[in-house]
Symmetry: D5
Subunit: 92 residues, 10 copies
């Protein structure tokens, strides 16, 4: 079941640089683990912004919330989720 | 080069049903032709809305505008385009 | 799996009164059928508006879109869907 | 008498972690007490957000404001209340 | 129990003038009947707009929706309702 | 001459609790003085928010600005003023 | 007493050209009469829009609403009124 | 003196196709005349929309309004103008 | 050449009171100097807000930006500029 | 390939003045280097704001994101990118 997710990162300017680097590194690892598991099939950078559009493939709403709220950057992001359905023109 | 596109269809209620059916059929054919050509790799229905999120893969901004403005539903849609870049966490 | 749905009805003023009455009657029947089937556990009128907040309980995003796009009033409504998860404070 | 409530939590990043944990724990206890008393029949997490949609069942507007302004997280939340009425299609 | 209501009238330009005059006359009569009954204690014109701010005093959300949806202008208005509580500084 | 005023209080979380209590106490006294003088005939709490809708009755725009900018909470509030006129349906 | 007014004209495309010309001519005459009477001291065109910013100088809110609702274009405009006070830096 | 202008075309769906074609042709001619005169140095299509971003180079606000309100599509467009100044980093 | 300017002052609550008083005093002096020079013919306080509507009369966009960016409060304000043209109904 | 970019600078008031001056100086140098390389053909100041409208000329979305995210002010700006296509009325 697919969901469209927009994430906008809002890191405070006075965050300690080492703390920041640590969070960002853990975020990358966490994201890549979910990508390899097939849960997060697409992630694209929005040009010019510290933001991404992503597609998640999960079993349920609860699973999606668990994955998103586990993001190391979760408390520093605005996240907006849109549920997706198969489009009648889709050839796949 | 990838672009994220949101399309919201606004067909007038008093459109002749046959005219409407004709436009919608041509739209589907046009969309599937671009999908088969690899120009329109993803199209998803937004649940509950007469709208879609799509990903286009084109050579240039001009090519994208030519494809979008050629949509049979073009004059009946609100379209918003967002350019995408590779995300540093993307494993592909 | 639960979804929160807001529906705002926008019937054109020049719609034929009989056509209008027919659509509204079919909408009620369709809604009550889904309520009895357990798919649409809650529907509340928003005070002062021709709108409702509803909760749907479905198996998948695709099922939800099928149910919503089958509403007799579908082409006369703005619909916005929000996926819900279990709240950690929920006692049920 | 039912009310629809949306709550968005905005905890400052520099809040002392112990203070934060204390507030969140008291919020949970307060919420569950109201749920058991039948005043707060539904609470759902909005997927991907530190937010909830809730339904309150109270005797009056004044009672609702007393309950909401007593929330331990009250000064850290944006709250929006919408009064609800019985929907003519509701089968209950 | 008090509610704050904003009403914005949107009469279509091509409405038959007699039909329009009839609706507006019935609206005035209906409003004054509710004012005399103590249900609609305040109504003020918003300067420069075909709009009003009103205060309603009713027993329940359901009663308020019944009164508002019975307005002869109901289908030609945008209505927004806000529930009110006693303010701690109020001397009355 | 009547004006509709919405006030939204935004007290910073790190404000000293005693300073805060002092401001809030002076605000209450100031408000009640204006209410007794007939300048501030109505004040209602917006349910669930640290906000109010008020009605002011003043001689001029300048008098209203003097009263509002003298509020002890003035620099901690978003204030929006709407001028009111007599409504043609008003029975008073 | 001064008020800032923004007016945005929305004339329907299918309005009869003679009717339109008549309304616009009466609007100009009405406006110039109020300007000569000192009630409407300033009117400026917003560059690129069928809109104006105006300053009105009236005795009361009621007088302002009477003047604005008497505009021949009143039912074809969005009007927004902002009350003005003397600025402490104003040298006049 | 430079101005940034955004134009969004909103042609009604029921406009007579010949009338439409005539307006669009005159718009093009009018635009190219101003481009050749150096008044309209840049015009770009916004990808996916019936809209443009333009730069105008004029002597005054009045000249700009005269040029824009003379556009054959003027009454079918939303136009928003932003005045521009030399940027301190500009190398030209 | 006239421009309409809205300025909203956002002074941080933790600004040193003496620093604040100094900036505000220099702002007043700067404003009155421009008023006396005929560059800033009107300034009005927006009732209930720490904001003003102003009219500037300058030779060019560049001159306007120089004047505005020289305001002692410049980095503490949101400023929005709208270019004005002569209105066809203006009697002056 | 052309892109329209709006940049709004939001420097925190408590930023160390030397740090600030250093960033702003590096930003200018970086911008002028890209201008000289033909990548950033236009930059205009928005009158009254710490903002600019720019045109970038790049090979791809990825190149544009690399250039923008390398801006010394990047983490202090809101940036919005709009892809541009050739306009059919453009004479160049």
């Amino acid at each position: 079941m697919l969901f469209h997710v927009r994430m906008d990162v809002r890191l405070p300017h006075d965050l300690d640089p080492e703390v920041r680097a640590g969070i960002v590194a853990r975020e990358k690892e966490y994201s890549q683990q979910l990508q390899r598991a097939g849960k997060w099939p697409h992630i694209w950078r929005i040009v010019g912004e510290y933001s991404n559009f992503s597609i998640f493939d999960v079993e349920s709403n609860d699973e999606l919330h668990t994955l998103l709220s586990g993001l190391p950057l979760f408390s520093y992001m605005d996240i907006h989720v849109t549920p997706l359905a198969k489009h009648p023109s889709d050839i796949n």
